[in-house]
Symmetry: C2
Subunit: 351 residues, 2 copies
DNA sequence: TTGTATGCGTTATCAT
DNA sequence: ATGATAACGCATACAA
């Protein structure tokens, strides 16, 4: 059973192989009589003909493949992003090549090489790339879009969201509720977790503005653990919160993200404290769990699906528009959105 | 800037193009002097030569691509599976082509065609395929492995786990704790959720064995909703549990999976009941969240990472072993493992 | 409007 | 041990 080719279709339809190619590609440069077109089409259907990607690619140099660099697929934040990208890609005939880096630079390196080999048509990064210069260079030959934080990189197309502002927004919200003694807890800052860092900077900036920065406590996990699943983020939240509340009086805890906030909630409940009566808690990301836990978590929405689709949109745009007519770098920034739920309330007065 | 080819490497190394091919592929049929080999290798490195996949594929018909059919990537159950598969695939030079079907049969159809076009080297299904006959046919030309439930399909390689037993195990556990009035709650059974159905069957079977089946209450969500993210499973758990507890006296609730169980926990807490003192609750899947919530959830472990790796192992095996020497169907079954945690306890006596 | 002919960059067979 | 050469299946410039 040998694979059938366009030549077989041609034979059945009684035309030449090139005519088959014209018909099947809807070639505009050539006009085909309706009758031959019909014959070719039905012959192709009858034989269940599927063009050979390799031969096609060899001529056209397009693979209809998009490489997707993901830091950690088990963190619920990313599947949402992946889903929106994948769905949109599929409807446009593109497939997603999944590259889960585990936030390790050597994996990123590995996949970058692999993607080059597979000659993907484009790459989407869901985190700040570790080799920006190299990617900039690469972006001359294939479109690359980064979904990440503001200033993740100067020279690449980026769909960003200003995490600095996210931090500010959250603190403003807490201050309006009367909170002054606030703690920020976070897992260790890896090189790829720019967002966390920026959130903290925003927080510090806002606290300073009101001369309250001496009341800010920052708890960061010391051990640089391997992050293999998001259990880590939750555990860190629990342990840091427990440690924190042993020695400090705070009226609000800000988690570096929702997962860490969940961990902290667990700790608080363990200690028999009430949220938000005794202590307010909030996170970042607005992952779906944040509206499922009790109490619902106050958080910052990052426009995940929207950004995913936009990234794919930009990619498709560059792919279609003959590739070299818009050399300028494209930057889009979303404004973070505060989502107030049940886990934050007025600061407890007496302490 | 035109792409460089093996011919360029040959020129630089001062050998013929075919020699380059021999060296780079470590061809066993031919012996190359160490000196030429060295020259070719260094020339390739110097030029940063990357072989063209299309040309290579055209000759060899291998893409080093594995299609991965996933029902719903936002359900935390799947990223774990995906991760183990992807990681193992990558170390063997294979890439994962992600196909998120949203549990819709038309998407599955769509992706199946797409995968054929991309000429993947193999396919892994993470759910019971909707077109088993077609896949059986397909499996003559490329390996297909299903990770799913026992009897998901007769004729395909399957890494299964007997969900019927899972149901039995759970009921036995609850009966040992003295529970007799038990409720099972579940989202609507779609065609692709065989596991849920089997779990329920196991539950019913075990209850019948002890003549307790008239004390079993089954709550299934009526509306066939579009499942776009796993929020659904949680919400269903909450609403069904609320409804259930309004009219019925039960001492234990079994969720169709961990997510649904979480939802039920939320409802129970809302009603001011204590887990497990007033009511026991348990789920299936042992997703990472089940050991993070308070109280920890009693559940059934499904050996997710192990099964993922095994699926990839089988695929790799079939890919390497010249493809036709083991025509028999491969079936592996894992035994479900009961994981007892805090959410189940002795049945409340007085009611 | 359709058919002929060529080349894309490999691999692999056959000479040398 | 190495080089010339013929496919692989398709797209496309050119001829008819």
């Amino acid at each position: 059973m040998k694979r059938l080719t366009s030549r077989d279709v041609a034979k059945l339809a009684g035309v030449s192989q090139s005519t088959v190619s014209f018909v099947l590609n809807n070639s505009k440069k050539v006009t085909i009589s309706d009758e031959t077109r019909e014959r070719v089409l039905s012959a192709a259907k009858q034989l269940n003909y599927v063009p050979n990607v390799f031969a096609k690619g060899l001529k056209t140099n397009v693979s209809k493949l998009i490489g997707l660099m993901v830091p950690n697929i088990t963190n619920p934040f990313y599947p949402l992003l992946i889903q929106s990208i994948e769905e949109y890609a599929a409807t446009n005939g593109y497939n997603i090549l999944l590259c889960n880096t585990h936030r390790k630079i050597e994996n990123e390196r590995f996949y970058l090489n692999l993607l080059a080999q597979k000659s993907v048509d484009g790459i989407i990064y869901l985190f700040a790339p570790s080799f920006p210069e190299e990617l900039k260079e690469l972006s001359n030959s294939l479109p690359i879009v980064v979904i990440g934080d503001r200033d993740d990189n100067k020279d690449l197309d980026t769909i960003s969201l200003d995490s600095f502002k996210s931090g500010q927004f959250m603190i403003r919200h807490l201050m309006e509720l009367g909170h002054e003694r606030i703690a920020f807890i976070s897992g260790s800052f890896t090189s790829t977790s720019l967002s966390k860092r920026k959130r903290l900077e925003g927080i510090i900036h806002e606290m300073k503005k009101h001369k309250l920065d001496k009341f800010l406590i920052i708890k960061e996990d010391a051990n640089e653990r391997e992050i293999y699943d998001s259990t880590y983020e939750i555990e860190v939240g629990t342990s840091l919160a427990l440690e924190l509340l042993k020695n400090n009086k705070v009226t609000a805890i800000v988690g570096a993200n929702d997962m860490t906030a969940f961990g902290a909630m667990t700790a608080i409940q363990k200690l028999g404290l009430k949220i938000p009566d005794d202590i307010s808690i909030c996170g970042f990301d607005n992952i779906f769990l944040s509206k499922m836990v009790i109490p619902n978590l106050t958080t910052i929405d990052n426009y995940i699906p929207q950004r995913g689709r936009l990234a794919m949109d930009i990619l498709l745009d560059k792919l279609s528009s003959s590739h070299n007519d818009m050399p300028q770098v494209c930057k889009v920034e979303y404004e973070p959105l505060l989502v107030v739920r049940e886990s934050t309330g007025p600061a407890k007065k007496n302490t």
